[in-house]
Amino acid sequence: MSANPIEDNATPKTTGSLEELFRHHLGDEAARPPRAVLWDQIDNSLLVRQNETYRRRLAATRWVAAASLLLATLAGTGWWARRDAGLGAGQLAGTTGTGRTGAPAIGAPDPTTANEQSANYPTGQAKEVAGAAPTTTVPPVAGVAGISLSRNRETTGVMPGRTSEAARGAMAATSTARYAESGLATARPGQGTAWPAAGRVAASADGPALAGRGAGVTDAGAASRVADRDARAHQLLATGAAGHGQIAQAAGFGAGAGGATAAAGAAETGLAAAAFTPAAAEEVSMLATRPASLALNQLAALPAGLAPLPTPALEAVPALHKWRYGASYTAGLFNPNVNFSRAGIAPEYDYSHEPIFGDNSPALTETAAAEYRANLRPGLSQRIALLATRHLKGHWSLATGAEFGQATAQSSSSYAFVGEQLFDLNPFAVREPHPTDFRYRTAGIPIEVRYTNPVKRGWSLYGRLGGVVTALLGVRGEVAGDPEATRTYSITSAGTPYRRLLGTARGAVGVQYRPGVGSWALTAGPTAEVGLTSLNAHPAQNFLHESRAYGFGLEVGVEFGK
């Protein structure tokens, strides 16, 4: 039995022309089974193509995942830094204000005390009253204060730069000790049993050394000045000044002297006890019945291991740096929006009418260009930028640097069109759609004006507007299934249909996070850009009607300096 079903026909023997003979045997109904292995090859090719598709999707997914991870990492780091800074301050403030006195923490003043203090002291200092004065009555704190006292005898003279402050503080401490011993602070009924103990603690302290400690460990200029003033104007509760000052300094307030100030205010007005909450009063009362605990405040009984830690100098408010440096990553969509039509174009850029292109080449290319444009789809764009920002004035700054990007786009045409004039070779062959992937690689110099708060800690908004001069380093148009039609243009290619230099306007808004500590900031937000020039070298349209590339995406960045 023949493999060809035509030859199995039982048709009568007929005659025909040569064409009929061949059409009869080789025509539409003729069949010849291919080798079985051919399907395996086709199946394998399909699998390879499918894998390639998956690989491309995977690559895109990886980029998106990397961008998301970067964003999440930056956001997480910012949150952590903020939380860490806030937690440290909160813990110290809580220890000072709540744990010992029950009074509000730093920044949350006791209204009564604050009102009393407001006449003579800045609000921030008055806030410390409640936290400072009672500190002396609590055994652990008193113990720490006592340690500070004992150590201060050694440290006062060791810090020459602060000697004057320490000396002034010593005066305050000496006076405060006397006041405390005389029971001046026992203004509140029911707390009387506590205050004598506190007075004993204060009295037992070495006044000058104590005050020196209070001033010595807090080297903030403003705080020291306040301590100085207060020490001379009022008599301070020395231990409160020392203990609270040490703690408050760690909380970033430099409030050792602030504590002294507050204590002085309280001593002077007799309102220190009024700042006590019931809980604190109860705590003090309980302690007053335990002289053994209070006895720990005796200098001789203090364990040597409780030596005060050296405290770093408070950071002065830095001046704004002129230059800040940063990097950013942007992922988004890019549409080249190219119109390769040459209808109405200047003669020098019109289609070539050389015979080699064929008579129908211009019409063919126009059709292909229209089909290409109709099927043009945006693709993924990615960009990294390294920027230097110069602060101008106020919230304004100017940024420039370098950036490198890659963008993709997809289209398809029946003519495997990639931008060049087509040869009129085989109209039949180009009736199939040819999916085409385009890839654009660029390098550019952005210049943009920024509006942002360069010093604000925490979250703030920013806005940017500027332009980019971009060099189109390379364009690749890869025609699926037709390697011959694939084109790659570099910036030096002679026949490239694309511009070599592009202009782009770009704007962005977003949020900036600057942590409480450190001199860096994170930025994130949407960005959009539109070309000032068309992507193709010779657009037929006038400038106002050119089809320009555009894109938008999400940008994340980090900036160093303040």
Binding site: T15, L21, N426
Partner: protein
């Protein structure tokens, strides 16, 4: 029995396929337990391997015969067939179902063959041989020849003659269309077809085929 077995993703046993069967209507195919053309297309569009294989088996025989006519060797024909089917599966989404699928696949195969011809045109140099300029018209008894004999005759033609002869005598294109397809003039197409016809007719006569002159 429903024939949408692969559309829904179930990879069950393949129904028996008849490679040389004429194109089935949906009702006939369903009655025969075979997937319809639409089922095949939908299955392929969903990436079902089973549907792809079914489509291949349905049309591979005919398309192989077509490719053999345009190619010079079996290996070359298989290359064309493979490229053609890959194009079919890749561009099936663009098939508008306005014509039979077989016709659409045939066009793709012809296109693939022409691409192969262009790639090899500069590599293959075949002498025309010694043949007369013209011959009188003759009639042939169709049953005196078989597929293989005629195929060999066509394959022995020079590529340019083979292309023109296939497109004109078997596919039914006119010389103007052939000129556009092959980027030659209409006159050239006519000339080459005439030359191919003389060569084939001479070969048929040399094989001793009984012919009779037509007045």
């Amino acid at each position: 029995m429903s024939v949408a077995w692969f559309v829904s993703g179930t990879d069950e046993a393949l129904p028996e396929a008849t490679p040389t069967a004429p194109r089935l209507t949906a009702s006939r195919a369903a009655a025969a337990g075979q997937p319809t053309e639409a089922d095949l297309i939908d299955g392929c569009l969903r990436g079902r391997q089973l549907a792809q294989k079914q489509l291949y088996e349905r049309y591979a025989g005919k398309m192989m015969a077509l490719c053999l006519r345009y190619a010079q060797t079996t290996f070359e024909a298989e290359d064309v067939l493979q490229e053609g089917f890959l194009t079919v599966f890749r561009t099936l989404a663009s098939f508008r179902r306005e014509c039979p699928l077989e016709f659409w696949i045939r066009r793709i195969m012809i296109n693939a063959a022409l691409r192969q011809h262009r790639r090899n045109a500069s590599l293959v140099a075949v002498s025309d041989g010694d043949y007369p300029e013209t011959l009188s018209s003759e009639e042939f008894t169709l049953s005196n020849f078989n597929f293989q004999e005629l195929l060999e005759m066509v394959q022995e033609l020079a590529p340019r003659y083979r292309m023109v002869f296939n497109l004109y005598a078997i596919e039914g294109y006119n010389h103007k269309e052939i000129g556009e397809l092959l980027s030659i003039t209409e006159g050239t197409s006519k000339s080459q077809y005439s030359r191919a016809r003389v060569i084939l007719q001479t070969k048929l006569e040399r094989r001793g085929a009984p012919t009779r002159h037509v007045s």
